[in-house]
């Protein structure tokens, strides 16, 4: 045997990528100036940013009156956003007319909610079942008695006094949570083989989805008292809750139906052949698979519902948007050219923060659950 000298015993060192494909210049060339048309678009985009961003930054930060400012500073011609106004009305925006001395009660509710919700959202934290039970069953009871009072010597606090972000969060949380089981039942009913139940569910779902939320809320707030026996009074907040929940349930039902339809027939047949009863089939076999498919849809619905809670303004509820608008219109001591704009900016920022984090979380869950299917 002779040594083969013309075959290298080791691999050639990998050469660095060509200069023209790495570095800042290559990135610019690829992403901003790939073609002449691209260059023009980039130029237009840059000009637009140049036109739009400085005035915006000026308004929100540089010329803005800080949280310690005074109304005189806000009334100056060149002043930007009046953050002092938002800061001084912050308690109203968050709690509404809730008694100043009792603010620790909603604060505890907020803190407890966050403490129970955050571990539930982080996949690695254990005790999910206990956590969920605490959040969904124990927490609402505790918060109701804390907020409404009247027991354990707590000062009674009628729901008319609740307001601001507190009410927005209550309505959306109750709507999201209660509409979920309702929606599942409606979706199962729509798939049912019993014609009466099927028609009822279809009728309810299609009717609710066809009309705007305002009409449902209006029905709940004006008509619900009419439907009740004489002398019954239904709490205003409860009316809004009923409306929002029923509305959301119809949408959840359609989302869940999508998940149910995505389950192969074999799963239903396999479950039936095991001799499981209908509810056991659903609970152990079908729903766990179906719900996993529809998590993004459910979260999107939650986002939509969170935004839609602002509509309770129209039936006279005092949510965050109503609080901001009321102060914009009536806080005469803060009247200035930019007060209203600042107030709406603040409300928009709060809503945006909640919705954006929900949508990011949904994307995160989607990625986590979809790992097996990615191309």
């Amino acid at each position: 045997m002779t040594d083969i000298t013309y075959v290298r015993p080791s691999l050639v060192e990998a050469r660095p990528a060509p200069r023209s494909t790495t570095g800042v210049l290559a990135w610019l060339q690829k992403n901003l100036f790939a073609t002449p048309t691209d260059a023009v678009l980039t130029l237009f985009g840059a000009l637009f940013l140049l036109w739009a961003v400085p005035p915006l930054v000026n308004f929100v930060f540089i010329n803005a009156v800080g949280i310690n400012g005074t109304v005189e500073e806000c009334r100056v011609e060149t002043a930007g956003a009046c953050w002092a106004y938002v800061w001084s009305e912050m308690e109203f925006f968050i709690y509404g007319f809730y008694d100043m001395s009792e603010l620790w009660r909603p604060n505890i509710v907020f803190a407890l909610g966050a403490a129970l919700l955050i571990p539930l959202l982080i996949p690695k934290v254990p005790f999910k079942r206990t956590n969920a039970l605490l959040l969904l069953i124990v927490f609402p009871v505790i918060s109701y008695y804390l907020l409404a009072g009247g027991v354990f010597g707590l000062k009674p606090m009628p729901t008319e006094k609740w307001g601001g972000l507190l009410v927005t969060l209550i309505i959306s949380a109750v709507g999201i949570i209660v509409s979920f089981p309702l929606g599942i039942i409606l979706a199962l009913g729509r798939q049912s083989k019993m014609p009466v139940i099927k028609m009822l569910c279809i009728g309810f779902i299609e009717l609710v989805r066809a009309v705007p939320l305002i009409t449902i809320l209006f029905m709940a707030s004006i008509m619900l008292p009419l439907f009740m026996p004489q002398g019954t009074t239904v709490d205003k907040l409860l009316r809004a809750l009923v409306g929002v929940t029923l509305f959301s349930a119809a949408y959840v039902a359609e989302i869940v139906r999508g998940g149910l339809q995505a389950i192969p027939r074999g799963q239903y047949e396999a479950a039936a052949s095991l001799g499981l009863s209908y509810w056991k089939q659903m609970y152990f076999i079908i729903l766990p698979q179906a719900l996993k498919h529809v998590i993004p849809g459910i979260v999107n619905n939650a986002i939509a519902l969170f935004k839609d809670t602002s509509l309770v303004y129209i039936v006279g509820m005092k949510d965050l948007l109503e609080a901001v608008k009321t102060k914009n219109d009536t806080a005469l001591e803060w009247q200035s050219g930019n007060t209203a704009t600042t107030g709406y900016l603040f409300a928009a920022a709060v809503f945006w923060m909640f919705c954006f984090s929900m949508s990011r979380y949904s994307m995160f869950m989607e990625r986590r659950l979809n790992t097996g299917y990615k191309r």
Binding site: N31, L32, A34, T35, P36, T37, D38, A39, V40, L41, T42, L43, F44, G45, A46, L47, F48, L49, W51, K193, M194, P195, V196, I197, L200, E206, L207, A210, V211, P212, L213, I214, T215, F218, M219, I222, M223, P225, L226, F227, M228, Q230, I303, K307, D308, S310, L311, Y313, I314, L321, K325, G337, A340, Y344, A347, A348, F351, C355, F356, S359
Partner: protein, 512 residues
């Protein structure tokens, strides 16, 4: 004998209560009884409540005089009108704002959806920021912002801000010129319809021949070239008149413009077409950029603006030059200019021949208010604007999802066939993406229509505001009014889903 054939057995007898069929019937009967009982309970309660409040019921109020004002109505409306007329006013107002919102939201949404997928970093980021900002803020809040924080803080009538085309904006809304067509103008409308049909027929015929033979028929190609020259002339003429008249004020610029435009048009017929087209693009782009940038950066010296505009126009001209130089032979190009010429030219000809006039009644500022013109109330402007901006962000996401749903292999296949980027999109990607886009797009249209009910919160007299708010408080027939409103929205929804089902059945992939 007791032997029985297999398979003819009755099902093994189970106890009566465990038979699924009987169980199903029992369940349904129970549900039906509970439901009927519940309805009776509600009806009874309602009747008792209404009787206690001394209220009557029934739909007879529709034929009674309404007796309230509606601030904005397309149909004739007075305080003496009937309730059913109020219903019609509400429906038309809803449909008007929904229609305008749908048209603009579609245009904006498609643009942003495509921009979101652009390979250009800045464009894609801008689109993403738009989408993520707008769709995470409640629509009602946005409407309040546009209405209370923007339109209501506009200057008073005396200090109205002038917009282009004799329009003005102030606290009371936007004033635009009102078109006042005379009787002969009806013929022009007829001509527009006829021209549209003719253009459609010609275009369809040409496309069919092209599909069969590979090239457009000669009867189309030559008129098409001629029309191309005419359109080129007209565009060049207008651009030059503006350019020379505004940027370099010279006394006798019209004849000069005509001569230069004619030269460009003639040039576009010869083998110097690329240069002629590039020059034309330069003119038009420069005029447009100059106006736009001048408006955006009024604090920058105009020379600077002109220089940047010239730079942009130069690049665009170069793009058009290389495209025109490399374009396919004329019998392989769609005769777009011919169709444009038919659609614009025939009505213009009729307009000139019949001596019709389309005068515009311009709004004029008098002592206290504007006289003449068409006044778009701020409620309408805010609602249309808010709905457009909000829905566009959802349409953009729909469009993006649709384009991304097209298998990547399709793009690669189109590229390997040698299709250019534009053709690849137009012939391969978009037709497949539309199949995915259209159903959610329709539901966005329906959402927009339902969301127009938020106009009630800023006082736009749409269906809910007119018939749910004012009519209920005037007539006291809450149940009847709400029922009618729900039926109207339900009808919108059912019509849309009927159209959608028809469309889905039509475009469904026919597989083996």
């Amino acid at each position: 004998m007791t032997t029985r054939e297999m398979g003819h057995d009755a099902a093994p007898r189970v106890s009566f209560f465990n038979d699924p069929v009987i169980r199903g019937i029992i369940y349904q009967v129970v549900v039906a009884v509970i439901l009927i009982g519940f309805i009776f309970w509600i009806v009874g309660n309602t009747a008792a409540n209404l009787a206690a409040q001394n209220k009557t019921n029934g739909f007879d109020f529709l034929w009674k005089t309404a007796g309230f004002d509606i601030s904005f109505a397309l149909l004739p409306w007075s305080r003496a009108s009937y309730y059913w007329e109020a219903l019609l006013v509400g429906i038309t107002n809803t449909l008007l704002v929904a229609f305008i919102g749908i048209v603009f939201a579609t245009m904006l949404g498609f643009t942003i959806g495509v921009a979101r997928l652009s390979s250009n970093f800045i464009v894609a980021r801008l689109a993403a920021v738009y989408i993520e900002t707008i769709r995470n803020i409640p629509l009602l809040l946005q409407l309040f912002f546009w209405y209370f924080a923007v339109l209501k803080t506009m200057p008073a009538v005396r200090q109205s801000i002038a917009l282009p085309f004799d329009s003005f904006i102030n606290q009371r809304g936007i004033m635009v010129p009102r078109p006042t067509p005379d009787q002969e103008f009806g013929w022009v409308m007829v001509a527009i319809v006829v021209a549209l049909i003719v253009a459609g027929v010609i275009g369809g015929w040409a496309a069919r021949i092209r599909t069969r033979t590979g090239r457009y028929p000669v009867q189309i190609v030559w008129p098409g070239k001629l029309a191309d020259a005419v359109v080129t002339f007209l565009v060049a003429f207008v651009a030059l008149v503006v350019l020379l008249g505004v940027v370099f004020p010279i006394a006798s610029f019209v004849p000069v413009s005509a001569i230069v435009a004619a030269a460009v048009a003639l040039g576009s017929l010869t083998r110097y077409a690329a240069i002629a087209k590039a020059a034309l693009t330069f003119f038009v782009a420069f005029v447009l950029c100059n106006a736009l940038l001048g408006f955006m950066f009024s604090w920058v010296p105009s020379l600077m603006v002109s220089l940047i505009s010239a730079l942009i126009a130069l690049v665009l001209g170069q793009v058009v030059y290389s495209n025109t130089a490399n374009r396919p032979p004329s019998d392989a190009r769609f005769p777009l200019a011919l169709l444009v010429l038919i659609i614009v030219g025939v009505p213009a000809l009729v307009y000139w021949l019949t001596g019709a006039t389309l005068a515009f009644e311009v709004p004029v500022l008098e002592r206290f208010n504007f006289k003449g013109g068409l006044q778009l109330p701020p409620e309408f402007v805010a609602l249309a604007f808010g709905l457009t901006i909000y829905t566009a962000s959802f349409i953009a996401e729909t469009v993006r999802a649709g384009i991304q749903a097209v298998n990547r292999g399709q793009t690669e296949a189109a590229q390997s066939l040698g299709l250019k980027d534009g053709d690849r999109l137009r012939l391969v990607i978009v037709p497949q993406a539309m199949r995915v886009i259209i159903p959610p797009l329709t539901s966005q249209y329906l959402n927009l229509t339902k969301n127009s009910s938020l106009g009630a919160a800023i006082g736009y007299p749409e269906l809910f505001n007119v018939f749910g708010g004012t009519s209920i408080s005037q007539s006291g027939r809450a149940i009847e009014c709400m029922a009618i409103i729900m039926v109207v929205y339900l009808t919108f929804s059912l019509i849309t889903s009927a159209i959608m089902n028809w469309y889905n059945a039509r475009v469904r992939l026919v597989e083996r």
